[in-house]
Symmetry: C2
């Protein structure tokens, strides 16, 4: 599973995501970071950290599968 | 605004959140991290980073205002 949507590691003064992952990879996701748009980046950005590899991958906030993954993570009961 | 719901900074081998913030602080939030439950922590945890202070605060995944804040952040168009 080659993940091209690298997260740029520069200082926080610009958007972090170059591309977003198109394949639904929900089952590999350990956590997601949702960054509100601000003066540095006009878009909301979502960065997922994958289980095992701990790789960071950008996700499209508007993709239905991304919204579903976040909803599922939030509604998981102990 | 005193935020008591500190995030424990120990290694990632247990739940991070001790308490969650009860007051709706959506407008202060720069980003949120949603951590799926796993073998180390049976609960989904949400950790918000506040604007300006960059303080980390735990939020209750089941609180309506938290769900609304996440939905708003995700739906913000450029």
């Amino acid at each position: 599973m080659s993940l091209r949507s690298r997260r740029s590691l520069g200082p926080e003064k610009h958007c972090k995501c170059i591309k977003t992952e198109s394949k639904p990879i929900g089952r590999f996701i350990e956590k997601v970071e949702i960054i509100a748009s601000d003066s540095h980046c006009a878009e909301t950005e979502i960065i997922a950290t994958l289980k095992n590899t701990r790789e960071e991958v950008c996700l499209n906030p508007e993709a239905p599968w991304v919204k579903r993954v976040i909803k599922n993570i939030m509604s998981k009961k102990p």
